[in-house]
């Protein structure tokens, strides 16, 4: 009886605690703007408190070939339509402007349903970005610095330097384990370069030795890894030569292991 009373007494607390423990969920988001620019990133969302934190990712200006790291989530607010808009920046500052630009800041705004982020945007007009980084900054005939942007409230909506694509999309899903991307890439390499990266291994064969996350291949006595220090892929050959195979971002995309 005492046990029953205890359960009855504790259960409400358990029910209260459970949502809190499960509420902070990591989501991955991918946006494509009219000018082909893409944002891929992650954020943590607490559905109970409707708090968005840690929005970060990469803004890929596909058209111009420029990628910027967005790492400071500095704002979030309700959109008035049952959703939330979150803003993240390259600099730890919300100051940004175009035509003329005032700095080399970059920002991205995502929007999602507050009850279930995977339902996507409740107000697509909140989806926007502005890229004033050096490789995205163009000076016009008057010498004014213009950022690349997609601003639905602006005229024109995107920086008009060529043709049109007019594709605007946002996809939000629950994020997998971050290391899964690296393992996905290793698996891809084992299939496509079996002569070097063999025998095949599973994620259990991956080793974390910061800043490297890698696998060892006994047949070729070589290593394949990704460094979190520079996000590059490294290949260590049997003779001890460490080769920088370049940024992991593109190869992840090529291997179908993108975020």
């Amino acid at each position: 009886m005492k046990l029953f009373k205890a359960i009855v007494w504790i259960l409400p607390f358990c029910l209260l605690l459970d949502p809190v423990q499960a509420a902070t969920v990591r989501y991955q988001v991918k946006m494509v703007f009219w000018d082909n620019t893409e944002f891929t990133g992650t954020f943590d969302y607490d559905i109970a408190s409707q708090q968005v934190t840690n929005l970060h990712g990469l803004l890929d200006d596909v058209a111009m070939g420029n990628i910027e790291l967005i790492k400071y989530q500095l704002e979030s607010k309700p959109d008035g339509k049952g959703g939330i808009t979150a803003y993240a920046y390259a600099f730890n500052s919300t100051e940004i402007a175009t035509s003329p630009n005032i700095n080399n800041n970059v920002y991205v705004a995502i929007n999602f349903n507050a009850q279930d982020p995977s339902l996507g945007a409740t107000n697509p007009d909140q989806l926007s970005y502005m890229d004033c980084s050096q490789n995205a900054l163009m000076f016009d005939n008057q010498g004014i610095g213009n950022c690349m942007y997609h601003l639905p409230w602006h005229d024109p909506v995107f920086y008009p330097m060529g043709g049109e694509r007019f594709v605007l999309s946002e996809t939000i899903t629950i994020a997998p384990d971050p290391l899964a991307h690296s393992d996905c890439l290793f698996n891809w390499a084992e299939i496509n370069y079996a002569n070097i990266f063999s025998p095949n291994q599973s994620a259990a064969g991956s080793i974390a030795l910061p800043p490297y996350y890698y696998r060892f291949y006994s047949n070729s006595n070589s290593y394949l890894g990704i460094s979190s220090a520079d996000n590059h892929i490294y290949y260590l050959t049997a003779d001890g030569a460490l080769n920088d195979a370049g940024p992991a971002y593109d190869l992840l995309s090529q291997a179908g292991c993108s975020l």
């Binding site: 596909v62 111009m64 990628i67 490789n135 900054l137 000076f139």
Partner: protein, 743 residues
């Protein structure tokens, strides 16, 4: 290469027993240009054109015929087209096997039997001028105005080694008119030409002026020309943007003659203040070039000498012209220089009917290609200039030997061997800025990687040609030939280094809208060309008809083509691609046909005749893809009327659909079409008046090799371009009128 005096020329010596001279029939039947000129190399063909002389000097602007089948276009032919076309290359459009890739209004690229651009050796007054522009906006043929041309010789496929080297398609040799000197005792000879034209489509107009003064020993001449046009309209009446142009040309010629020695010194300047390029991402807002050359030709007891020394310097600018409404400037500057020499010797025909020729050639081509910064702060295009080619150099040294033998009246052979050594190199390059990234290789990082490489490349080329001519009768002759020809990669094929979207989008001379990066691992192209030509005509004395059929086959090892760029981050999804130069084995085959027939002769109503030109070519890579820009079957059929000094031509041009397109470039197909054209010309003493209507029915059509229409776009990368769906439409109806006065 040959003396002015035909008494000392090769065919005269060949038939010296008969003291026979064959006049180019185009001088007599100049109306039938297509037919008559094709047969300049068959002197025993036109029995009715043979004149037996005791002693006579004949002046002509036609080079001597050899074993090689060749097409000669003389000054009379050129004069007839002067009002009709502004583009020097288009003077060749009635030549079987010739087609053109559209560039600007005066800068189309010639294609011989499916082999294009760099594969064609183009000589302008002996100068081999390589295009310096990364979009080939200033091809060699555009360097001379059509009004300053005396003759054009086209050799297809089987080129004598003395006229070949570093080319696999053939040779186009453009020569200004041979200087005129006063006859002995004539005193001072004054000569000149005045011409003007107007074309309704695009409101094109222009004119030329030439003045010469000469005595027996010296001659000086000036030629100036101006041509300009607004955008043209297609057959639907739509204005095609970025098709306007303006060009000014000035040329001086100084010549000295003494006995059998002739020295010509030429110099000139070309100024193109603007020229739109509807199939390129950029336009030409300025092009300045100057040239100078010396040409010595002399006869000695032991043989003849032909020596040329030349220099050409070009300052070339690219950017967006107003038609594209660009908000962002995209300046690109190119500085180029070509200089070199050519030296040729010919030993006279010996007792055994052998003729030997040998010579040497050296050519230097230098290119600086840099794109100025548009801002002084670090940005997409700043603060440093982007250096695409830094003092890129392509030197070529070659020598050759050629043996021609007349085995009998019916048999002639020519064998030639040639060696060319090509060096290429370029200096270090740089990006607009020094930005680095953890997520991709920026231009700066790519430039550093490129600079760490050895850029020097060397190519050894061994050319060989063999020609056999058999002429069993006066009315038939046959030529069969084989040529092994080589071409080393150009600087633009080797060294453009950036795989980033914007630089790649700015590079490409294929009118396909795609972006390109070079490949330093390219190998030399080696072509094995086989060609046969049968020329048969009416055996009767009337010479009322003639037909020439010339099938050909070419296998090209390491044909320089393109593959999808694997180093590039992403390919667009709008039909355009980022491509990298790559070698592939390829083969081409086809046939050229020309024909002519006299239909009716009447002293009161004049003469009626007909002539035709047909061409067909196919080209494939051995991996199965088609070669790019293969001209489908096309036919030009003309009915000609001549009454005294009045000449009329109504011609029909049929072009078949282009279905065999290259997938790697996403080449667009084109539909078949028929055009009707009319032209009339009347000559009254020294005045010639031309009138004509091109595209009489105002047909809307797409010339198969024009390329994709992007002249209304300012996309700085392929991804920002509109989807690739539209070919460049051809000109709608155009009425033209022109006159020329020779005095």
């Amino acid at each position: 290469m040959y003396p002015l005096d035909f008494n000392n020329a090769l065919p005269i010596k060949r038939m010296k027993k008969n003291i026979l001279i064959s006049l180019n029939t185009s001088l007599l039947l100049c109306f039938n240009t297509v037919y008559a000129d094709e047969n300049v190399d068959s002197p025993n063909f036109f029995e009715d054109a043979l004149i037996y002389l005791e002693d006579m000097t004949v002046k002509s602007d036609i080079q001597n015929p050899t074993v090689t089948p060749q097409k000669n276009i003389n000054s009379a032919d050129i004069l007839k087209k002067q009002s009709q076309v502004s583009d020097t290359a288009k003077l060749l459009e009635d030549t079987a096997g010739m087609s053109f890739q559209s560039g600007g209004g005066i800068s189309s690229l010639p294609i011989i039997r499916g082999l294009n651009d760099n594969r064609v050796k183009v000589e302008v007054n002996g100068m081999t001028v390589d295009s310096i522009c990364p979009n080939h906006m200033n091809p060699a043929l555009a360097s001379i105005d059509r009004s300053n041309i005396g003759s054009i010789t086209v050799l297809k496929g089987i080129t004598p080694v003395r006229m070949g080297g570093d080319s696999i398609a053939g040779t186009i040799s453009v020569e200004s008119a041979i200087p005129e000197f006063a006859e002995e005792g004539e005193g001072v000879l004054l000569s000149g030409k005045l011409s003007s034209f107007y074309r309704s489509n695009g409101d094109a107009f222009g004119g030329s002026f030439a003045l010469g003064i000469a005595n027996e020993f010296a001659s000086i001449e000036y030629t100036g020309a101006h041509t300009q046009s607004d955008n043209y309209q297609d057959g639907n009446g739509d204005t095609i943007k970025s098709t306007g142009y303006e060009s000014q040309n000035h040329a001086f010629a100084l010549a000295f003659k003494k006995d059998e020695h002739l020295l010509q010194i030429r110099g000139g300047q070309q100024y193109i203040p603007y020229q739109g390029f509807p199939t390129a991402r950029m336009d030409l807002p300025n092009n300045d070039s100057i040239f100078g050359n010396m040409h010595y030709n002399g006869d000695f007891d032991w043989g003849s000498v032909d020596a040329k020394l030349y220099l050409e310097n070009t300052s070339h600018t690219m950017d967006y012209l107003p038609d594209r409404n660009a908000l962002i400037p995209m300046p690109m500057e190119t500085r180029g220089k070509n200089y070199g020499y050519k030296l040729g010797f010919e030993l006279p025909e010996d007792q055994d009917n052998n003729i030997f020729r040998f010579g040497s050639e050296f050519l230097v081509s230098e290119i600086d290609d840099y794109w100025p910064a548009t801002s002084s702060v670090s940005s997409m295009m700043g603060p440093n200039p982007f250096v695409n080619l830094n003092n890129a150099v392509r030197d070529r040294f070659g020598f050759y030997g050629e043996w021609e033998k007349n085995w009998a009246e019916q048999w002639r052979t020519m064998v030639g061997f040639r060696y060319d050594h090509t060096w290429t190199d370029t200096g270090n390059v740089q990006a607009y800025n020094t930005v680095t990234s953890d997520f991709l290789r920026t231009d700066h990082e790519q430039a550093m990687a490129f600079n760490a490489l050895n850029h020097e490349r060397q190519f050894d080329a061994y050319d060989f040609s063999l020609l056999l001519e058999y002429a069993p009768y006066d009315w038939s002759h046959y030529t069969v030939g084989y040529a092994r020809k080589n071409r080393a990669p150009s600087l633009q094929e080797l060294y453009p280094w950036s795989v980033s979207p914007m630089p790649m989008s700015m590079i490409g001379w294929f009118a396909d809208g795609n972006g390109y990066v070079g490949n330093m691992d390219l190998k030399m192209e080696t072509a094995n060309n086989i060609s046969f030509t049968a020329n048969i005509s009416d055996p009767s004395d009337l010479g009322a008809w003639n037909v020439e059929i010339s099938p050909f086959f070419s296998y090209v090892e390491d044909y320089i083509d393109a593959d999808l760029c694997m180093e590039c981050r992403r390919q667009p999804t709008n039909g355009y691609y980022y491509l990298k130069m790559a070698n592939h084995d390829a083969y081409l085959w086809g046939v050229d046909v020309t024909g002519k027939m006299d239909l009716y002769t009447n002293a009161t109503y004049g003469d009626l005749s007909t002539n035709t030109v047909m061409s067909y070519v196919r080209g494939k890579r051995t991996d199965g893809d088609n070669l790019y820009h293969m001209m489908p079957f096309n036919l030009k059929w003309a009915v000609n009327h001549t009454l005294n000094d009045w000449q009329n031509t109504l011609d029909m041009q049929f072009v078949d659909a282009k279905d065999d397109v290259q997938s790697v470039r996403n080449e667009l197909q084109t539909a078949s079409y028929i055009l009707l054209n009319f032209k009339s010309s009347y000559q009254w003493e020294k005045l010639t008046v031309d009138f004509g209507v091109d595209n009489l029915l105002d047909k809307h059509y797409y010339y198969p090799l024009s390329g994709v229409y992007i002249g209304d776009q300012n996309a700085m990368t392929l991804q920002t371009s509109r989807p690739k769906t539209e070919n460049l439409a051809g000109q709608g109806r155009s009425i033209y009128v022109g006159f020329s006065l020779a005095y």
